[in-house]
Symmetry: C2
Subunit: 266 residues, 2 copies
């Protein structure tokens, strides 16, 4: 796959263009992403500007200073670095991870287009986790001081920002539920359903996806070892729930996955 294409197609691409109905979305992203204003960004409805319009949106545009490219494998920020900006993912795919003193690493989330990175930094003015690009990515840097300023002026923006922080807290609670009380099969099923649901909201297929992360990263996120992740994928395939070819996943029975997640009621 040539590099421009990898970049232009954002975080998902149908491996065979003729196959799935993945492409029900305009190709505006091929245009120079670094000139897109919030007001004309196709992620408007998923990102910070949800519900904003007119002057508020213009101000937000003005606020967003630099856009930044992050190459696959590079860090957008690292734990301990001073916190200045939040980052909205425009294209690409990130993981965030924390590590304990003794070096154990825990992936705390995967972020895709329209999602916000860096909220953890507000509490101490230093980032509390690493954000690593899992594929070449572009982000919009949102200077935090300016965002606070602007959100004092515009209640809609203020409210939207608070909702985003709160949503992150709720998401984390869901992950705790997953890590604290689910078995490997349930965790992986929940993970896949969550991913496809978010991809679907971005115009991608709900039944086919390309994983941007390794088995080890999935395992870290789900509190499992990579071998367990791999085995569970294989089991899902044997049971006819999925078709798995390395990172290329096709969901054959999403109902089956769903009953697995809520599956204690037998």
């Amino acid at each position: 796959m040539p590099p421009e294409q990898a970049e232009a197609t954002s975080s998902q691409a149908s491996p065979d263009p003729s196959a799935a109905g993945c492409a029900n979305r305009p190709q505006a992203m091929k245009l120079d992403a670094f000139k897109v204003a919030c007001s004309s960004c196709n992620l408007r409805e998923l990102c910070l500007p949800v519900g904003l319009s007119g002057p508020q949106l213009d101000q937000l545009d003005a606020l967003i200073g630099t856009r930044r490219r992050v190459k696959r494998g590079e860090a957008l920020f690292r734990s301990g670095e001073p916190f200045r900006s939040l980052y909205a993912v425009r294209t690409g795919f990130f993981k965030t991870c924390v590590s304990s003193d003794d070096g154990r690493e825990q992936v705390t989330g995967f972020q895709m287009a329209g999602e916000l990175l860096g909220l953890d930094g507000i509490s101490t003015d230093n980032h509390a986790c690493d954000a690593i690009a899992l594929e070449d990515a572009q982000v919009c840097a949102i200077p935090y001081a300016k965002l606070e300023e602007l959100s004092r002026e515009f209640t809609d923006l203020q409210h939207q920002f608070h909702k985003i922080m709160s949503r992150e807290i709720v998401r984390d609670q869901g992950v705790m539920l997953l890590l604290g009380s689910m078995r490997a099969e349930e965790r992986l099923a929940a993970f896949l359903l969550n991913l496809t649901q978010r991809l679907h909201a971005r115009g991608f297929s709900a039944s086919a996806l390309i994983l941007r992360m390794t088995r080890e990263e999935i395992g870290s996120y789900l509190g499992l070892k990579l071998e367990t992740v791999s085995r569970t994928f294989s089991r899902f395939q044997d049971e006819g729930l999925l078709e798995v070819k390395q990172r290329d996943i096709r969901i054959l029975d999403s109902e089956g996955l769903r009953t697995l997640v809520n599956g204690a009621r037998c």
Copy 2:
């Protein structure tokens, strides 16, 4: 223990008053808690008003509408209920928990005096978890709409509020690390150290505590079964790390606990 005392002593009491250095704190709480303003609340430095002064503090006082008593076992709010207010714990002890569709329950946190409850409700205007009092408690209700309003006026309040939300996100990441990559011993050690550290910040002993929650609730929080929690307590006792008498815990070797948490480096 007579009920008034249980209430007056908040969420911790030295089982034997002469024993530990638990009581290095004024007894102002014995006064009618329902008339205490933020400006004269002894939790000022732990709660929302951190860093505020003068007019800001007065305004915040004005904002805090009703104070509310919650009896042990009762819910402050439940998942699905409409969200209107945040709650600052004045006295007592809470747990928050989420439950999956099939009824599994996950304790997502324990909250003590000065901590804020309800942040999860902002995202959808409905509470996303249950908050249950583990002992008779008092909370200050902070109408959220008014808080947003006021934080548009006072940058310090705005900033402080954002920090609190962010801190919750960072805390959640820590719990994920715990649930995702630690073994039972490490989890329990981390849990105890976290509890004592928070209690210490409130003027209680760093080496003696009374658990407000059952083994099952600890287990739910830590992703373990109650039997495992109980066994691990016993093992810690055998190893001379703790003295355990039901819910009455005395820490004999906090260094030992600490090395357990960061203990992969052997």
